[in-house]
């Protein structure tokens, strides 16, 4: 099924993400481009944060968006926003890349967090909405105990399993799982109630 003439006349930039996805799933490249414009910054930032080099981050971002383009029909708005869907795909592709590159074996030599090990990113000014949101989340993370932040970051950004993290930190598996759960619970509460000092 292809885009109709009526659809071709639609200004896709005025459409909500959730309305762009069905167009994209029908092969509308303009709808895809609008989604790319809105989310590629966050996608590339996440990819870079996880894989740590520009070339790999570009590969991950490209893989993720091509996956998005080819699987738009799989989006289910009941399971979250388009942005969450996009970033979820990026996250999975980045973990695949980390595992392909065997980055794990190089990274587990000490107990730094994955974030501390990444090369200095080329920082850019963030738009106001994203900056505020990012500041809120960073402040909420900063309020967590460091040992909880460490296991959460190693798992999410580093792609490590809780067993690998337990081994890396020489900490019981149950403790690692408990820290992940408690840290996320506190993060959820902080973000839900706005109890974050920004």
């Amino acid at each position: 099924m292809r885009s109709s003439r009526a659809e071709e006349s639609v200004d896709v930039r005025a459409l909500a993400d959730e309305d762009l996805v069905p167009l994209m799933a029908r092969g509308d490249a303009r709808a895809f481009e609008a989604i790319y414009e809105r989310h590629s910054g966050a996608a590339y930032s996440l990819a870079y944060r996880m894989v740590g080099t520009r070339a790999s981050a570009e590969d991950v971002t490209q893989e993720a968006f091509m996956n998005l383009w080819r699987s738009g029909a799989h989006y289910d708005r009941r399971r979250g926003s388009v942005r969450t869907w996009v970033l979820g795909i990026v996250h999975h592709r980045a973990i695949d890349a980390l595992r392909r590159a065997s980055v794990h074996s190089r990274r587990r030599s000490d107990d730094e967090t994955a974030a501390e090990r990444l090369e200095a990113p080329e920082r850019v000014d963030e738009d106001v909405a994203r900056r505020d949101e990012a500041a809120t989340v960073r402040a909420a993370i900063d309020h967590l105990p460091p040992d909880q932040v460490k296991v959460i970051e190693l798992a999410y950004f580093g792609g490590f399993t809780h067993v690998e993290i337990a081994d890396m930190l020489e900490t019981p598996v149950g403790t690692v799982k408990g820290r992940m759960r408690l840290g996320l619970k506190k993060l959820h509460e902080a973000l839900s109630h706005g109890a974050v000092g920004t």
Binding site: I152, R181, L184
Partner: protein
């Protein structure tokens, strides 16, 4: 709030689960538990919201314009092919022989060579463990002779996964073809360019039958209605 059987064993697991930090067997076990445990289901929903916020904390970066150009070039090519293929694109009709498409496939010796190549490497199919699909071996030749690839077939979908693929050449892209026995190859919308590490994936959907061949050639950007070069990857449905 009720808990399901064996809840004590899984009580601390929701955090690791939403972070994607459970090994495969443990993840499967926890997902089975969640279907029977209201407490864990609620906690997974709650913690997933927190995990979804984590990517926002990544330092903001701007993707290079060249990345968008690369992606949009690929997307526009596929969109054009999809549009050209029309409503039947997702369910291709049996191919109608077209003389102009017979470049190398129309030459008996080369067709035979292709068949011999496939037979020579012992194309075989292995049943997936539980997926109901098949994994086909792929013959790599020519400029892609060092590539390692396989095709996973499940239902009417075939996913080509390749590693060590060379670039298709300046101004070119790889294109996937579906060839029925005794018929010329039909173009599919699947065009791809390997990533910098040589890995590549491409997905083909359609009525895949035993005896069909899935072929990959290097084609001019935008793809071709007929092959303009010899196949570098070939797999046969069995």
């Amino acid at each position: 709030m009720s808990t399901g059987p064996g809840h004590d064993r899984w009580a601390d697991t929701a955090g690791a689960y939403v972070l994607g930090a459970l090994p495969e067997d443990e993840r499967t076990g926890f997902e089975a538990h969640v279907t029977t445990c209201e407490a864990c289901r609620i906690e997974v929903d709650e913690l997933a919201g927190a995990a979804d916020a984590l990517p926002v904390s990544a330092p903001a970066m701007v993707p290079p314009p060249a990345l968008k150009a690369r992606i949009m070039a690929e997307v526009n090519r596929e969109a054009a092919l999809l549009a050209a293929a029309g409503a039947g694109a997702d369910r291709p009709e049996p191919a109608k022989p077209r003389r102009e498409k017979r470049r190398w496939f129309g030459l008996p010796s080369l067709a035979l060579a292709c068949t011999t190549l496939l037979a020579g490497i012992g194309v075989g199919a292995a049943v997936f463990a539980g997926g109901g699909g098949k994994t086909l071996s792929v013959a790599a030749t020519g400029s892609a002779a060092k590539a390692v690839a396989e095709v996973d077939v499940s239902g009417n979908k075939a996913v080509l996964v390749a590693h060590n693929m060379p670039g298709p050449g300046q101004g070119k892209t790889y294109q996937v073809w579906l060839k029925r026995p005794g018929e010329p190859p039909q173009p599919t919308p699947a065009l791809f360019t390997p990533l910098s590490d040589g890995s590549a994936t491409a997905t083909v959907t359609g009525d895949l039958r035993d005896g069909d061949q899935i072929l990959v050639t290097a084609e001019p950007e935008g793809g071709s209605p007929m092959p303009t070069s010899d196949p570098v990857l070939a797999a046969q449905m069995t």
